[in-house]
Subunit: 527 residues, 2 copies
């Protein structure tokens, strides 16, 4: 060996989450890495498959991006390691997008290859129709006629080494509620650190089993493809998020950890199958909306510990979480619920999150509202091919989340609303979350969304859209009275509409549709 | 604010373990950070004290090193944050060194300030006598007449920011069994990652209480000054390592974690106070020698989980550890002990440890012996002011530990011996550890050390030095017979000497003294 001796050769190695799979293949060779239906792969096999996938992709992609359109299967997990090992950025595409949206992402990312589950044949056909430079299509998954396994078998195990830890690891497209989706650029260093943060905060260990309820196409599954791998725990795939399947896997694979929106937790807890037959705590990480006190109580009864977190695609997912104080366990259920509804503090690898009004950090008084701003190693490099958007998002290096919140006296942050969801009524700010929480505490209510509707007298008034529990009964006045008994009366909804809530392909409630509906209804009632 | 917007401002922050105290002061403000006898500091107070220490030191040190000579007190913990915040490298000095050794370290490190516990007044006076440029002496601790508290009260809270994550954080002097001690240079990035590795492998959480049995002057306490702080757990100081005091703190402060040599564990378990009155597991991390099966059984009976690890000053302490497979819990005690005696694998932030014979990695056969070599982010920058020694230690970027071991078929490394401790007898290699383990399994034996002695017929033969348990009785032949019943007969000691074992100031058994004694005895027996 002729290797120039330098201090950095001894003590510097680029941080990359791919190193975790190398380590676990060496340390936990025979342990089960992945369970996907009847298929089970050890860490040796998982490592080998990812290396072979890299070998198959490298000559096709030649460093250009590789897109993946698949549910939470072993192929998707393998892509999280095999694509970067091929020397390509990974582009996971939301499987609920329309063909024009998929087409836009393929074009914008310049993806040379699309790895797709055969269940999306039609979507892919439409998306690439007439594309000037269509990607190479690799079908992988049930229905591929064994093509993917043959591809792997024929490939040379490969791993392009990572020489720059801030090199591009993945491009994750935002859901794009307004305008075109933006490509959020992830780097190796950020993913490595975020994975260690997830290990630390969720106490992942080798004995853990992680159930894949959270789509991996969201923020690379909050870094769990690498975090679970890092400790040699077991990934349990879940192609479809259904309560009966979740409970089946919890029992069969002794699940210890899972992630998802409160709606997933609600679905689990309200299912007829809900029940535990094993000791030990299950850790459920939830983001997107605060878990309601009702939901928290139901979770606790089944020994499911809920951690509330907050983040965006731009922050590798959970940049902020409600870091629990052991002393809080002594508080009563209502106090615990109130604490757990807060988004919290920057995670262990993050920089302190700020709440800024104009140019100033708001006082920690629990009432002054400001914008949440974030910065640090678990932030994106920027938007792919969009320097103007990057500069606009972080003009001074602090990322503008666009989300509004307060800082409590103990430093914990609580979101009050997305900027556009503040309802201003009679000069008073009403945050829809607060009203939603009050409605959700009614025993008959399963889900609730509150929006502002125009009102001649007050400017805006809150209107509630409510889904009742199966077989539960409640009238509009019951809901209004209940809210008035819990929060300021002027915050009570002026109207309550019962029925299903419209959702985006990513499961977010489409409040703009509700606003349109509420606005139209207001017009009808106008004199 | 006029801040140039760059992607790195958004997504790059130098890694430094000092960030953990900033975070915990913000997140766990009112939690107890430090317990030291009757004194208790919250995280707010701990943070403020460290910042004030930095403010007091900065104008005195002006970027030069600050040395500390203190037992495991709150002052020592504060120095681990306050000295780097002052913009100075930290030099913790082994309190068991002689005045000339302390003098050498002060001079070599160019320390501008020496922070010392008053119990070392005499040692310091001798060490600095006639020094051309003696450091500023700051007395801190019981007996300082309140001087240290006044110094902190008068100081401005200060924190010099870390702009280069590979900047010098600390210089830790090796114990120097041969030649002058060498100054091992630690960097911020390495300490940050090593601290996260300790959190991960020991499952430190906010509810943990860490007892300071391991001297902080060893490898900065294996990064635990930062790791315990990172999760908002409680440091419990222990100025003197005595069994009764350890058990008192375990009960009083609900200790969950501690570290030390097997001798510390042995002392604990053999004390009359040994006993648990609380549920839950205590995690004990041990290095320096493999814990014997007898010790492991006694630990398990008290629900003390022992993790065996390996490292050197050059590797920030535990670079390698016996990462436990959940499946091993099903094995019988003897099998578990054998597995736990292995040093193991690189920790979660380390690069794969190598075992090299000449230029080749040895086969993973559990028998071929090679040298352990390490590399990665948790390795030193090099030796302070000694480029030649740095180059010699890592001529190709891989650090030569000088320790010999084998790689088992599952990839786990087991040390066979320090290079110089291999006993070659009749052409066969005998590793002293193996013989020591066999002797230690005799119920009458408390401690054992085996060295080679010259022998006309065999070249060398093993000679054992044995300390019996209090009131236990065993004759030379009992020990020899016992060893022959457990390992190859040629490995049995030819002589057994009963009595105390000579130790260095750091507690290492001085085998060279034993070798000298054994050699002299051989000469006496020569015809």
């Amino acid at each position: 060996m002729s290797f120039t001796p330098t201090p950095s050769a001894l003590s510097f190695e680029p941080l990359s989450p791919l190193a975790f799979l190398d380590r676990s293949a060496a340390v936990f060779a025979e342990r089960t890495a992945v369970v996907d239906g009847p298929r089970r792969f050890t860490y040796t096999e998982f490592h080998d498959r990812c290396r072979r996938l890299a070998g198959a992709l490298a000559p096709l992609a030649k460093g250009r991006a590789v897109a993946v359109l698949a549910p939470n299967t072993h192929v998707m997990l393998e892509a999280h390691h095999g694509v970067p090992w091929a020397g390509s950025p990974l582009v996971t595409i939301n499987t609920r997008l329309s063909a024009p949206e998929v087409r836009y992402i393929l074009q914008h990312s310049g993806s040379a290859v699309l790895l797709q589950d055969p269940q999306f044949d039609d979507l892919v056909a439409k998306a690439i129709e007439g594309l000037p430079e269509p990607p190479v299509i690799l079908r992988a998954g049930p229905g591929d006629g064994g093509g993917h396994e043959r591809l792997l078998a024929a490939a040379e195990p490969t791993a392009v080494s990572v020489s720059d830890e801030r090199a591009l690891l993945a491009v994750n497209y935002t859901s794009g509620t307004t305008g075109r989706p933006k490509g959020v650029m992830y780097h190796h260093r950020g993913a490595y650190l975020q994975a260690l943060a997830m290990v630390t905060h969720t106490q992942l260990i080798a004995a853990s089993s992680y159930l894949w309820t959270l789509p991996m196409f969201h923020c690379n599954g909050w870094a769990f493809p690498w975090a679970v791998t890092a400790v040699g725990a077991t990934h349990v795939c879940l192609p479809k998020v259904e309560a009966s399947e979740i409970w089946k896997q919890i029992h069969a694979e002794h699940i210890t950890h899972l992630c998802g929106a409160p709606a997933v937790l609600s679905m689990m807890l309200n299912a007829p199958e809900a029940g535990r037959d094993a000791d030990g705590t299950i850790r459920f990480l939830t983001g997107g909306a605060p878990p309601s006190p009702t939901l928290l109580a139901a979770a606790e009864a089944l020994r499911i510990d809920v951690t509330h977190l907050y983040g965006l695609t731009e922050t590798f997912g959970p940049a902020v979480l409600c870091d629990w104080h052991p002393e809080w366990n002594a508080l009563d259920a209502a106090e615990q619920s109130a604490l757990r509804a807060r988004q919290g503090v920057a995670n262990i690898v993050g920089l302190a999150a700020r709440v800024v009004d104009g140019e100033k950090d708001v006082p920690a008084d629990g009432t002054t509202i400001g914008e949440i701003r974030l910065r640090g190693n678990n932030l994106m490099l920027g938007y792919f091919k969009d320097d103007a958007a990057t500069a606009a998002a972080a003009p001074d290096g602090w990322f503008r989340t666009g989300d509004l919140g307060v800082r409590h006296p103990d430093g914990y942050i609580e979101l009050r609303d997305r900027s556009k969801d503040v309802i201003i009524s009679g000069g008073e700010n009403i945050t829809s979350i607060e009203v939603e929480q009050a409605i959700l505490s009614h025993p008959a209510v399963l889900e609730a969304a509150v929006v502002g509707a125009p009102d001649e007298r007050w400017g805006e008034v809150p209107v509630a859209y409510v889904v009742l529990r199966p077989d539960a009964i409640a009238a509009e006045q019951d809901i209004v009275d209940h809210v008035k008994s819990r929060i300021a009366r002027f915050k009570a909804p002026k109207r309550v509409v019962f029925g299903e809530l419209p959702r985006t392909s990513t499961g977010k409630i489409q409040k703009y549709l509700l606003r349109e509906g509420a606005s139209a209804a207001s017009d009808d009632r106008s004199p």
